[in-house]
């Protein structure tokens, strides 16, 4: 069965070679009978593997849990794991391999926006489906991506008012790594700060991956701010918090309020440097529910590391597989576009609570939370939004729940201009 299909494929490739191969040519011949193949594409090597390996692990764990309960549509899910090697070129190449050669109906992939941007053309041109688990800057309205991480409004719309009203801090020093996400977060922050009666005194960036914070912290010291809003990512975070303390600053007087600092970075810097600082995320390892505690236990057992930490993107990597499974079950077939259509409006009880895919923009309803970091490296959750809030990827341009920019019809660019 399989072999004949392959020879047909070859023959058709031969005939297609001379002319232009039609982009959607091979889709219908995708699946073997007994398994559903899916792609899992994260960096297993290179600098980003620090975090991405844990995302791949969480994805694989979800797949194995689904398989243990009978799979989906009576079939087992077979993950095809590839290595993005922390390099957008490799991501692009491996995504093509998964989509075109392996003909998977869905790929769970990518941590950074840069890698997502590099694989995007593959999914859009080949009408395939990407599940993307990371919080990101927004401004994307692809019909071929399901976004299960937070967008700026889900991290900031409760955070900034809380900083101003509850913490009583008014003068913000905004600092970030120099790339899109921190810059867009800064943009949204500024809007929210002004709306809530605060002010920002500076908006500064450091090269991504640079960990020389001496000058920056010195600037923070002399800027007269009373709160630091950090959109710093990756290993830079560690050096930042250490420099902060070592230049004699304290979170009690001048707290760092971060949008990216997660359990991973806290563990790497040593919790003593972060005690008293804050982070806003929809998920924290410390969420005090049985569902989450069990999730953490299962994850630690799965990766055979009793000290492994969980974090927001990891949790999204996990629950998005279940959303996908529900969509496949609803669609009744494992094909990209039917899955995409079926995933709209899917709901699931994730470790962080209730999540739902917004049908209009394929982003996820999430519950914003604020945590204060403790000496044990865990966040103490001190503020939880009463309910999940709607994802607004274009919030920086005034997108509201009533006035969506990205809908099933695509992006309404006229609204962007306004």
């Amino acid at each position: 069965m399989n072999t004949t299909r392959r020879s047909i494929l070859k023959a058709s490739a031969l005939s297609a070679a001379g002319t232009l191969a039609s982009p959607y040519f091979f889709h219908r011949t995708a699946q073997a009978a007994d398994v559903i193949k899916v792609g899992v594409l994260f960096s297993q090597t290179g600098g980003l593997s620090i975090i991405e390996k844990s995302l791949a692990d969480a994805t694989l764990m979800a797949i194995s849990e689904i398989n243990a309960t009978g799979g989906v549509l009576g079939k087992q899910i077979q993950p095809i794991v590839e290595d993005g090697a922390s390099d957008p070129k490799t991501f692009n190449e491996k995504a093509s391999k998964l989509v075109i050669q392996d003909k998977v109906p869905t790929v769970f992939a990518c941590y950074t926006s840069a890698s997502r941007k590099a694989v995007l053309p593959v999914f859009e041109r080949r009408a395939n489906l990407l599940f993307y688990p990371t919080y990101y800057e927004g401004f994307e309205c692809s019909k071929n991506v399901v976004y299960t991480g937070a967008v700026p409004n889900q991290q900031l719309s409760n955070f900034i008012p809380w900083i101003i009203k509850t913490l009583g801090k008014k003068k913000f020093f905004i600092v970030g790594s120099n790339y899109i996400y921190p810059r867009e977060m800064a943009k949204v922050c500024k809007v929210l700060i002004e709306q809530n009666g605060g002010q920002w005194v500076a908006d500064e960036y450091l090269e991504l991956g640079d960990s020389e914070w001496g000058s920056m912290v010195n600037k923070i010291k002399s800027s007269g701010c009373d709160v630091v809003l950090s959109n710093v990512v990756g290993d830079s975070v560690v050096a930042f918090y250490r420099e902060f303390k070592n230049q004699g600053l304290s979170h009690a007087k001048l707290p760092i309020c971060a949008t990216v600092t997660s359990e991973i970075e806290i563990a790497a810097m040593g919790p003593e440097y972060a005690v008293g600082s804050f982070t806003s995320f929809p998920y924290f390892m410390a969420i005090d529910t049985d569902a989450n505690k069990q999730f953490v236990e299962r994850y630690r057992a799965f990766v055979k590391n009793p000290k492994a930490v969980t974090h927001h993107a990891l949790e999204s990597s996990y629950f998005q597989v279940f959303l996908w499974k529900q969509a496949v079950a609803k669609a009744g077939e494992a094909m990209p576009i039917p899955i995409r259509n079926a995933v709209m409006g899917q709901e699931f009880n994730a470790p962080n609570g209730h999540v739902k895919i917004e049908p209009a923009n394929l982003h996820t309803w999430l519950t914003p939370r604020i945590a204060e970091w403790q000496a044990d490296g865990q966040g103490k959750i001190i503020d939880t939004y009463p309910a999940p809030i709607m994802p607004l990827p274009y919030v920086a341009y005034g997108e509201t729940e009533k006035n969506l920019f990205c809908t099933g019809k695509g992006l309404d660019t006229a609204k962007l201009k306004g």
């Binding site: 090597t45 290179g46 600098g47 593997s49 620090i50 390996k53 120099n178 500064e204 960036y205 450091l206 090269e207 991956g209 640079d210 960990s211 020389e212 001496g214 000058s215 920056m216 010195n218 600037k219 010291k221 290993d235 560690v238 050096a239 250490r242 420099e243 303390k245 070592n246 230049q247 004699g248 991973i264 970075e265 563990a267 790497a268 810097m269 040593g270 055979k304 590391n305 000290k307």
Partner: protein
């Protein structure tokens, strides 16, 4: 202003710490050791591991890291570099391969991860080094509040630089090294065991990288890729300073560090970094042999 100068000084000392080892292996031996950054990384991991397994603090880890990385350096010289003395640009490529191997060794926990074994302190993740209480926070020197750990790094750099100067210019070993640097054949003819001296010189330069790694571990985060950007900075410093001149390396580290610090505080960090690259290019273009060079003519 004093704070800005101090930060510049600190940046200089960090550059110098990494460049010092290169000033030996590249400056004196001409070997373009792209694995130097990985030796820094190895030093940092020695700190992590000795903290976890031997409960040593960061200061006690200094000699240990020196020995371990010196040994790794010795092995690199014996196994790889020694075969390439005739074609020094090739050392760049071979040691780049070595760098990948060292990174992967740490990431894959020397291959044990394939067998499901994990060693605490190795692997892909970020590692944490505890810094003694005395070295955290700020101290006040002459009315200026400075970062204690940065001050510590400056101190260590001064000591290492002095030790290196003693070794290179005031010891019989240094005489031999400098003799080989000028003319290896003549040095051999004078009865110097060139191979042995080369191996030991390389080991010493690598050991310095290890100490740099210990310092970095208390300052930045420890992970397998941490060394790559450092080796680039290191080479820029040594090349701008003048190959083979310890004084040149010191001055160029001082200059680049201060430029970085001052530009960063006046404008921003991105521009400061761009400025450092531009200054290095300018120095090499204007003075192709660097600020200082041992070749008089």
């Amino acid at each position: 202003m004093a704070e800005i100068i101090f930060i510049g000084l600190s940046l200089s000392s960090i550059l110098l710490l990494v460049a010092l080892g290169l000033a030996i292996t590249y400056g004196a031996m001409g070997v373009i050791n792209m694995a130097h950054g990985e030796l820094v990384m190895a030093g940092a991991y020695v700190t992590v591991l000795s903290g976890i397994w031997l409960h040593l603090n960061i200061i006690a880890a200094i000699p240990l890291a020196f020995l371990v990385t010196a040994l790794i350096g010795y092995l690199i010289e014996r196994l790889v570099v020694r075969r390439l003395y005739g074609r020094l640009l090739d050392t760049l490529l071979a040691t780049w391969g070595v760098a990948i191997l060292i990174q992967q060794a740490v990431r894959l926990e020397f291959g044990l991860s394939f067998f499901g074994r994990h060693i605490a302190g190795l692997g892909v993740g970020l590692q944490n080094v505890t810094v003694p209480e005395a070295l955290t926070g700020a101290i006040t020197i002459g009315g200026v509040q400075v970062n204690a750990f940065r001050a510590f790094i400056i101190g260590v750099t001064v000591v290492l630089t002095f030790a290196t100067w003693l070794l290179m210019y005031r010891s019989s070993f240094g005489v031999q090294v400098r003799a080989i640097m000028r003319n290896p054949n003549m040095a051999a003819a004078c009865g110097i065991n060139v191979q042995r001296v080369n191996a030991l010189t390389f080991a010493y330069g690598s050991g310095l990288a290890g100490v740099a790694g210990v310092m970095m571990s208390g300052f930045k985060t420890v992970f397998p890729d941490m060394g790559t950007p450092m080796v680039v900075d290191g080479f820029l410093v040594v090349a701008a300073g003048g190959v083979g001149s310890l004084l040149g390396t010191i001055l160029s580290a001082g200059l680049l560090g201060q430029i970085n610090g001052i530009v960063a505080s006046v404008t921003n960090d991105i521009l400061a970094r761009a400025m450092v690259f531009a200054v290095v290019i300018l120095i090499i273009v204007l003075k192709p042999r660097g600020l200082f060079s041992y070749r008089g003519r």
